[in-house]
Amino acid sequence: MKLSILTEGIFKNNPVMKQVLGLCPTLAVTTSAINGIAMGLATMGVLMGSNVVVSLVKNIIPAKVRIPAYVVIIATFVTLIDLSMNAFFHDLHKILGLFIPLIVVNCIVLGRAESFASKNGVFDSLLDGIGSGLGFTLTLFVLGSIREVLGNGSWFGMNLFGSGFSPAILMILPPGAFIVLGFMMAFNNFVEERRRIGRGGAQ
């Protein structure tokens, strides 16, 4: 039962593929696999923190001012992550740049606070934060990997195809982000349809 909260966010309710939330960082920073993972983990940190705190204070905050209150809680965690990344992972922080403070307006974080953490216990909310965070990280990792392999001929900085390979630079430029994500979503539709038909056939 508890495990299902965790897996819900990764597959069934994947923030990017299913709920189509958090698109800005998804498209902007996924020029390589490592950037995708870093952005995903930073968002996951904020999600866990904000989910726990929102769930702790859910009974104290009046319903009318809950959204501003949540935003302040989220902004606090974003500032924490922003400053600690700047201190410990300075190079990554420079690459992700603007999109670290922008986690505060990532709809996933506010969405989970409003739809899950404000109605559930602390531990469940933590699990939900980890699940949604992992789902987000996974999508960013896949998107980043595809773009890095096609657009740069490398994966995690390792050269894959030797020096004769001429990469499709388009893929690491902005248009590539839209196109690859479009194909990923179509593929996702395809897989789901197949599974649906498969289940129907078994009955």
Partner: protein
């Protein structure tokens, strides 16, 4: 002259949606009809300009003076949230039709990263007030332009025969990709 280049650069070359990936959620959410796209674009333009000005003033008169720059994110998002609430009330009173059609996306301007993004870029680039104003208005118009163009294309896609698995969002993303490709043609325009 440099102001003009800054403006053109913000509208076309570094287009907020298609080159910087800011404000993607409303870009896909409210781009089904040209009419709502125009309304959304104007609402964002207004909020962005006012929010840009207020956050600029706060940054230089409060945050820098008292050396509390680390509060930037929190203060900026609060200013934007309050402003959006205000715009929402004004639109609800003055144009109920527009209010209806913008629906959920109106309060969501708060979480539109274009607004906060513009405010932060203004500070990071060290613009003075005039440059800040030109850049913000240019960026917002660029957002509106991209949104309206995209809405026009999507209205036509509705009527065409799309492969089954690509219907809905996947084809929208690929279309946006091609639109972004077209906008890359402007990149030599401003150095």
């Amino acid at each position: 002259m440099s102001l003009f280049l800054l403006f053109v650069g913000a509208v076309l070359v570094n287009n907020f949606v298609l080159a910087r990936f800011l404000g993607i959620c409303p870009f896909f959410g409210v781009s089904k009809k040209v009419e709502t796209a125009v309304g959304m674009g104007l609402a964002v333009t207004f909020v962005m300009t006012v929010a840009g000005s207020i956050t600029w003033i706060i940054q230089y008169t409060v945050l820098d003076r008292f050396n509390v720059g680390f509060l930037q994110t929190i203060v900026f998002i609060l200013v934007i949230a309050a402003l959006v609430q205000f715009v929402e009330m004004v639109i609800e009173k003055s144009s109920p039709d527009l209010y209806q059609s913008l629906g959920i996306y109106l309060p969501l301007i708060t979480t539109n990263c274009a607004i906060l993004g513009a405010a932060i870029i203004n500070i990071q680039s060290g613009f003075d007030f005039l440059h800040m104003l030109v850049f913000t208005i240019g960026s917002a118009l660029g957002f509106t332009l991209a949104l309206v163009l995209f809405a026009g294309i999507r209205e036509r896609i509705e009527l065409s025969d799309i492969p089954y698995y690509f219907r809905g969002l996947p084809i929208a993303f690929i279309t946006a990709g091609i639109l972004a490709l077209a906008f890359m043609g402007f990149s030599g325009l401003v150095k």
